[in-house]
Amino acid sequence: MEVSVLPIASAHKEKLISAGYTTLLSIVGVSASRLAQELIIPHREAVEIIKVTLKCCRAVGLEGTHAVLKGSRTAWEMLSDEQNLKLIRTGSEDFDGILGGGIHCGQVTEMGGVPGIGKTQLGIQLAVNVQIPVSYGGLGAKAIYIDTEGSFMPERAYQIAEACIMDTWENLGFSRKEIEDCQEKMQPDHFLANILYFRICSYTEQIAVINYLDKFLEEHKDVKIVIIDSISFHFRQDFKEMVQRTIVLNEMSRQLMKLAERFAVAFLCCRFYYLIMSLQSIQKAHSS
């Protein structure tokens, strides 16, 4: 329902729209004092506006219950959000198919595996793929790479960027003019310049960088993927107490989910997986 149907002064309607409140539902969840602040109107006028909006909603038959629970939204509203979710392609059609199109922005994806299996490689590949221009089916965005182990090698990223560019040219038949337009953007150097690299050497720095991402992502709105490689490295070695470690890790994962949702950014966390040995093989190993 549009704000324009509200029986209020047009000056107020204009203020509402310019402040970003274009539908009735967007006004309903807001407190009167906040509305007054944003529109720069007296408090009682804001209260009036909200009352009128609620009446209008009920009259039209829209559910008003979410006005009671601040910050809540209906599943229907969330469906349209979910459908508009941006996806980052991994480069393998089958794999993308399993993931539902690609890595989801706004969600935390965990990638686990044994050493040497290719977690870092996939991380670098996604950092490159997120940069594919929108006209070629990508997001045209930047990537943040948080390296805790020192396994990021920029020469490898360069190779992957080159291959990605060649791949894109091959798969999409574009006219000469379109190719020339994007020529500047589709250079490996340009791709590397859009990967923002943090080298983390202790768990304190890891916690610091994740906290700092709140401000950093606010300033760098064009980042659409954050790769943390790997999230468990420092926590394996340096922590003496298990309890404290669990608490810190939980806090960190909550923070990541909050950041992912708030900024609609994909988080990709790499971690180690180990084989759990059967009792038999443990005995064998010990007996030798």
Binding site: P115, G116, Y145, M153, R199, C201, A208, V209, Q237
Partner: protein, 366 residues
């Protein structure tokens, strides 16, 4: 960064005072506690705690750089393109030029297969002047098995680089650049590593010794640890030198090569790093014996390049088991008077789990 003092971070005075009163002096102290605990400890609002933590995090966070500037920095600062060429053409091509700087390279294989020979040659190559494809630097060789043989090294030198070694005094100069440390216990090794950190800067000042190369033998370490081959050392692992080694490599931009001993034991499985799981292929020849790499998972993660030396079907192979650059290739080799030489420069591509396995056939074991 973790030890930055909270007092110097520009926090609001009241919060700063409270933090000091509770003995929270460094960024590490402040960030190790969850926000709720901090709030109770300091007796302030959650809002103030969040602000303080955000400020501390911002200051404690290391600065970022773009991948491009990282690449340019390395290209500019690293000698010989950031690689130590091994003089084995096929292997060098696979590794993108040679053993890379700044990361750990592991050589793993059964005893007697040629790892030490390879290391001797690498030491020589690092010591050679740049005009001969070397790094023109010093080498630190930590020998825990007393296997280093100067005579053998000079023999390799004479046969591989006859021009240099036959000229006057060059053998002495080259051998003089290789510093051998004999250590047999873990504590000695860690002590010496801390020492090296102190005299490394000297190497950097001295123009001639811009690059160094470390070679370690870790067998004695694993003997001390006992059953360190198992990955289920459930208790807290000891403060291991691995991440320390890795930081030395990274921040001094030198190659560090480590050899890993393989233990033999008799059972029907072909061995591999325990984290790789069971192989469903059971066609194993009876006289192949089986090995387990002697250091565990922690080590496996710290290593960037893993070269497996193995023998089967009457031939020896170097397998590039873990590498960010190359596909899994195996190169047949022999050990001659001039060290390790490849029999073919085109590697054989290995598919699946085979690349991670270590086989030994009829060679003597410890």
């Amino acid at each position: 960064m973790a030890n930055k003092l909270v007092a110097h971070m520009g926090l609001a005075q009241s919060i700063a005072n409270r933090l000091a009163a509770r003995n929270i002096r460094t960024a590490k102290d402040a960030l190790s506690l969850p926000e709720f605990d901090l709030m109770t400890l300091l007796g302030v609002d959650m809002k103030d705690v969040k602000e303080a933590v955000a400020r501390i995090s911002e200051v404690a966070c290391p600065p970022y750089q773009t991948a491009l500037s990282l690449l340019e920095e390395r290209l500019m600062n690293d000698t010989s393109g950031g690689r130590l060429p091994t003089s084995l053409t096929g292997l060098d091509d696979a590794l993108g030029g040679g053993i890379p700087f700044g990361v750990l390279t592991e050589l793993v294989g059964p005893s007697g297969i040629g790892k030490s020979q390879f290391c001797l040659k690498l030491s020589l190559l690092a010591a050679l002047p740049a005009s001969y494809g070397g790094l023109d630097g010093r080498v630190i060789y930590i020998d825990t098995e007393s296997k280093f043989s100067s005579r053998r090294m000079i023999e390799i030198g004479r046969n591989s680089f006859p021009k240099i070694f036959h000229s006057e005094g060059m053998a002495q100069e080259m051998a003089g650049r290789i510093i051998v440390l004999r250590q047999t216990s873990l504590s000695e090794i860690t002590e010496s590593m801390i020492l090296q950190c102190q005299f490394l800067p000297l190497h950097i000042y001295d123009q001639v010794t811009r690059a160094s190369c470390f070679v370690y033998f870790f067998r004695s370490y694993c003997r001390e640890k006992g059953s360190s081959s198992s990955s289920m050392s459930g208790s807290h692992p000891p403060k291991c030198p691995f991440s320390f080694l890795k930081s030395i490599a990274e921040f001094s931009r030198i190659p560090i090569v480590v050899t890993n001993q393989v233990r033999g034991h008799n059972n029907e499985e072909i061995s591999r790093y325990s984290f790789l799981g069971k192989d469903t292929d059971l066609s194993v020849e009876k006289f192949e014996t089986h090995h387990v790499a002697a250091l565990g998972i922690q080590w496996a993660h710290a290593v960037t390049i893993r070269l497996i030396f193995e023998a089967h079907s009457g031939q020896k192979f170097i397998k590039v088991a873990k590498s960010p650059f190359s596909p899994p290739l195996a190169f047949p080799f022999t050990v001659t008077s001039s060290g390790v030489t490849l029999l073919a420069d085109d590697g054989i591509e290995m598919i699946g789990q085979e690349i991670g396995m270590i086989r030994c056939q009829g060679l003597s074991m410890d």
